[in-house]
């Protein structure tokens, strides 16, 4: 209902004045939106979320004005060229529910960086694109970023197959790209996967999530597990690691089922699993299918504990699975139970600030409550921005600077990147969270 409500509010046509007002301010340090008059095909670069845009514009018009005036002097003094960063996510198509909040966070962090003085005084100019959850479209957007907008760096996309689709192009063009995809092949080299010189990713490797979960299972004396995984890229990637790492943690896989992420009923698979009598069921999927699995487990009266993957820690999950989510456990970034972290944890403060900004200043939580993924785009952009501060926008230097990122305390973990490790997160970045009567808590 809330979504309905806010959509009505923001759904009117965008007054032309809103745009010109911002553009009229010259090199302003709020994210610059490009209008559609630049070339034969006014394309993806003009994509922007009207609703979010208008909300931002209306709600904090005063703040804008003030910031604008304050920063006007800075920008006049520097006459600084903005630095263009391209960001593309699935704003439509089946993955839109993941891509849209990622975009909101992206806009939020860019605004924050610009307010804090940008990259050594130069503002970041965000160019947005929509992959439509489609590999071919993702390639088109990436080509546009590289050839039309000539961006200094790219953030996104948000899904493994989209990431893979643009990887070759990015490696050839040599543009530092920080992806927010779950799957590891984007930063794996060799064979048909090619190189990964220019591609980074901010979410934990699937293997890290699996290790975190398996560590937990080992600690709790679980020996026999059953897998039920989605037949999409994310699910298959997870399944591979689950099978590969099981022996290392003394686990036997007694059943192995899969489902189409769009399916609405998995009782058939779960009945088979139940017959194999596992001590734990591990489900690997992103999206509503995970909630359906939980519901089906309950429906079939299966008493075996259900473990989900790191893709599901999300208030939505509790909402969708309802009572069936009770007792589920899953690996997660620390976002889901940050309040229970010891105060010594260096991430606690960063996360607190982020959540304050997200919930209290921007109110994005009304539409997309904080979940385990909320910080990925934030971390990606901050790492790139920090590297830019050190090395400027020369691609080669920028890439090296990113690779030298050490001890960056981010929302999703503490990043230590190297030329070999383009992710930089270990098992220490993850926790196991459990759900108790709809509340998330740190699990033992």
């Amino acid at each position: 209902m809330e979504a309905l409500h806010s959509a009505r509010k923001g759904g009117g046509t965008l007054a032309a004045g809103d745009v010109s007002e911002q553009l009229g301010k010259g090199p302003c340090l709020v994210p610059r939106y490009i209008t559609a008059n630049q070339g034969v095909m006014p394309c993806v670069h003009s994509a922007r979320d009207m609703r979010g845009f208008k909300e931002v514009a209306m709600k904090r018009f005063g703040a804008f004005l003030l910031a604008g005036l304050l920063l006007l002097s800075v920008s006049i003094a520097n006459a600084a060229e903005p630095i263009k960063i391209g960001a593309f996510y699935s704003l439509s198509g089946p993955a839109a529910a993941i891509g849209t909040p990622t975009k909101l966070v992206t806009e939020m962090v860019v605004e924050k960086i610009n307010k804090e003085g940008g990259i050594n005084g130069r503002p970041i100019e965000l160019v947005l694109g929509d992959t439509e959850s489609e590999p071919t479209k993702a390639v088109m957007v990436a080509k546009k970023f590289i050839n039309v907008d000539k961006v200094a760096a790219i953030i996104g996309p948000d899904r493994t197959d989209l990431g893979m689709a643009v990887k070759k192009l990015i490696e050839e063009a040599g543009v530092p790209t920080f992806m927010c995809v779950g799957g590891d092949p984007v930063i794996m080299g060799g064979g048909p996967l090619g190189t990964f010189k220019w591609v980074f990713k901010s979410p934990q490797r699937s293997s890290v999530a699996v290790e975190t979960l398996y560590g937990h299972l080992q600690k709790n004396n679980v020996k026999k597990i059953a897998l039920i995984t989605a037949s999409d890229g994310f699910g298959k990637d997870g399944k591979g690691w689950l099978e590969k790492l099981a022996p290392k943690f003394g686990l036997t896989i007694v059943a192995d089922e899969s489902f189409n992420p769009k399916d609405t009923d998995m009782t058939a698979q779960l009945s088979k699993i139940s017959a194999a009598k596992p001590e734990g069921i591990v489900c690997w999927t992103i999206g509503p299918a995970g909630a359906i699995v939980a519901k089906n487990v309950k429906q079939l009266n299966i008493q075996t504990p259900l473990f989900q993957c790191h893709g599901l820690p999300d208030p939505k999950y509790v909402e969708l699975a309802g009572a069936a989510s009770d007792g589920n456990k899953m690996p997660s970034t620390k976002l889901m139970a940050w309040e229970q972290l010891p105060d010594t944890d260096p991430q606690k403060k960063v996360i607190k600030d982020f959540i304050h900004l997200y919930n209290d200043v921007y109110h994005h939580d009304k539409q997309f409550p904080i979940n385990a993924h909320s910080g990925y785009a934030w971390d990606a952009i901050y790492i790139v921005a920090n590297a830019m501060k050190k090395a400027g926008t020369d691609p080669e230097k920028l890439r090296e600077a990113i690779e030298q990122t050490k001890d960056y305390v981010g929302i999703s973990g503490i990043y230590n990147l190297t030329p070999e490790d383009h992710n930089g997160l270990g098992t220490d970045s993850m926790i196991i969270v459990g759900i108790d009567k709809g509340k998330w808590h740190l699990a033992k």
Binding site: A3, G11, A96, A97, T264, D265, P288, L300, L320
Partner: protein, 288 residues
Amino acid sequence: MAQFIVSGLTTGSIYALIALGFCIIHNATGIVNFTQVDFVSLGGLMMYTFLLGMGLPLVLAFAVAVLVVAGVGALVERFAIRPAKSRAVIILIFITIGVSILMRGTFKILWGKNQMALPHFSSESPLIIFRAAVLPQSLWILSITLIVVILLHLFFTRTRVGKAMRATSFNSRAAALMGVNVNRMIQFSFALSGALGAVAGIIIVPITTLSYDIGVMLGLKGFAAAVLGGYGNSVGAVIGGLTLGVLESLGAGMISSAYKDVIAFTILVAVLFVKPSGILGYGEKERV
């Protein structure tokens, strides 16, 4: 085994309801109406709004949601099908595809891209029947489907308008000669299939989840079910729906969950090859 059949019948009922919607419009107009899939989504979405957004009681929310979607169905006929300059079946079908895109775009804005959930109609704890765990919601689905099918049957055989609709679908010229307003009957059939889609959406959503495009996959399967049963044949639609649901479930349970759709669709295509007009379909008449 019993478990698979129960699951199959549950989803199969949904397919059957959707397939019935496809059939009714086909009988009135000869087209495949792809907005049927959005009627399913809209049913769930409206239920969400009325039940959780406005706090109406369950039964009332159900009724209002079904009525609203029926109204939307009538509007689709009035503003997209009737004004079309071409009566060619393929053009009309693609108009419905276009309207479907338009409707989904609208839902996305009104309800957002997020997943939503609806509460079960009653308790969520499963019952054990014949060694199969059955959700009360499954029982609701089966019984509501049964009731809808019975009501539909009564409507078509007992009421004046229902008989007129049947008459129109058999021979619209003769129906017009009896004083039946054929356009209104077509519009009514859109409303009716809108209502059927809405019911399907409303009753399935509690055990799945809800999003603006929840009807797409269900609708596609419903179309398959309608074809399997013999396109345009209502009994066939119900049989087709249940068959497809059970086939899927058995395929997933007994053979391979990864290839369950392949199994279901291979059987479907194979049935068409053997009997090109579906299980209960009449052969198409060659026009000379």
